[in-house]
Amino acid sequence: MASQPSTYDLIRQHGIDRRTFLNYCTRITAAMGLGAAVVPDVVAAMENKPRIPVIWLHGLECTCCSESFIRSAHPIAQDMILNMISLDYDDVLQAAAGEQVEEIRRRIMKEHKGAYILAVEGNAPTKDDGVYCTIGGQSFLEILKETAADAKAVIAWGSCASHGCVQNARPNPTGAQPVKKIITDKPIINVPGCPPIADVMTGVLTYILTFDKLPELDRAGRPKMFYGQRIHDKCYRRPFFDAGQFVEQWDDEGAKKGWCLYKMGCRGPSTYNSCSTIKWNEGVSFPIGSGHPCLGCSEENFWDNGPFYERLSNVIVPGIDSTPDQLGKALTVLTVAGVGAHVVSQLVRTPKNGASPEK
């Protein structure tokens, strides 16, 4: 393993100077929520440790995670990321094709047995033996199980792999299931988002490379450093929420003044992600910053929690197509009607029975 080039070696080969390299290390350390004292550790890891072998599988997905990944914010990140990990197998980015590439996957699995990281983008349909997603004549379900068997850990990129996303939304015709439902005997890091923020993806890999361990995860299996807080609690529009100043229409005065998008269905109060701190596209903006409510794309079942632009979603009871308030009001009316019917029945009966039961 020692003979293998480190990340830094490859970066230098690509003509990137040391200043830019240190710049990157500092930036990614800050993004991970770690202090300046850790920067030397990150630098040392980059300089000395061999790259992490990664097999990157694509199941049922749209490749938006890969698209996000290759657009990491740092100016040299594109090279940096692709060099930092040895992306030996990736359906989308690799040069090889056909039988040759499946051969590479099997070779990595043998050579780096128990040491490689399996990154999964997308998820696997489980209905009808997984025929709804096949690669090289093999079902993705089978490939996923086979490749995960010798992996050190599994990274579930994006909402598809973490939670199921759109293909897992009701009625889920292909029986698509997130990685955590299929692989149960390996540590899984969920990195949800549709797609996840590029810097979050890079941060997770840098952490694993630097500290030789998986980042601390929350109850949903997400790295705490990026998914520890709600969008809402770090949102720059939060003062408008607390004040009670809300956008009511897309073109009203509040919208122009940048008030809180809560009443437009913003999912910020129930979404854990780093959008309101790290932001997107080299820190340019994020949905709320651009006047659009958060859709909650990194939350479980976010497609089923719609409509996106309503505060309340429909009640998750089959056959009932109404919000909690509509259902509550209907039940209240029924109760009042029941009470009314009882009053009437008593008024009708009383003369016959006499004034009181006690006589």
Partner: protein
């Protein structure tokens, strides 16, 4: 003129009512704390879900309407929780009426009592009055107040914990959110369940008034004075 000042005198042998102290202080106190906190929680909760009025324009630093309503909601939630703790404690150590009406699903007599009470409300049958809670009242308080209240306290404080990750409430109740299918779904369930109190409220008020009119045992005032009247043949003496 001085007739109104005349003391009442019973003719010996004609006394038909007895009086008993049924609801002691912890029961009455927790009843009213629960009642007022639930009403406040429902009103503020609906406002938080859909703020119907706002402070209008101006710098947000000068207003704190939503924040204040949320504060009232959280303060009422603490009141409800402590009320539940006291009531739960009193259920164990209090007198016999503290456990009155407790559902005994394993007891045939309890099921029979439930059947009689339902028939009685439907005016099919006339049964004796209860000094404590009847079986139907007991099961409805356990489910519609106890169960629903516990659910609201669990989901509510779990949602509350989100603003302080890793804090006291998060470490205590953070598990509730994944169990309910995520933060948004927890919020929907919390919101939907709050309507259960509206339904309970309507039925409770009506049945208290109906019972007070029918049994003439001081039912409506008993939760204030603690005293109830009873006749020969009444149950739970």
């Amino acid at each position: 003129m001085d007739i109104i000042q005349q003391p009442l005198r019973f003719v010996p042998g004609e006394t038909r009512f007895g009086q008993r102290y049924v609801w002691d202080v912890p029961i009455r106190l927790t009843h009213w704390v629960t009642a007022f906190s639930v009403i406040t929680l429902f009103a503020t909760g609906m406002f938080i879900s859909w703020p119907i009025v706002g402070p209008g324009t101006g710098e947000p630093a000068n207003h704190f309407l939503m924040g204040r309503v949320r504060q009232v909601h959280f303060a009422s939630a603490y009141a409800l929780m402590f009320s539940f703790i006291v009531r739960g404690y009193w259920f164990i150590v209090g007198g016999r009426y503290a456990r009155s009406g407790m559902p005994r699903f394993w007891d045939r007599r309890w099921w029979n009592g439930l059947r009689i009470q339902i028939l009685e409300y439907m005016s099919v049958e006339t049964g004796p009055a209860h000094v404590g809670h009847n079986a139907l009242a007991g099961v409805s308080y356990v489910v519609m107040v106890g169960g629903l209240g516990m659910f609201q306290i669990l989901t509510g404080f779990a949602l509350y914990s989100q603003s302080n990750p890793g804090g006291f409430w998060d470490s205590l109740l953070g598990w509730v959110i994944p169990l309910c299918g995520g933060s948004f779904h927890t919020q929907m369930l919390h919101h939907l369940a709050s309507w259960g109190f509206v339904i309970f409220f309507i039925l409770h008020i009506y049945i208290v008034l109906f019972g007070a009119a029918r049994y003439k045992n001081g039912l409506a005032g008993a939760m204030i004075s603690g005293e109830k009247f009873f006749r020969e043949g009444d149950l739970d003496l």
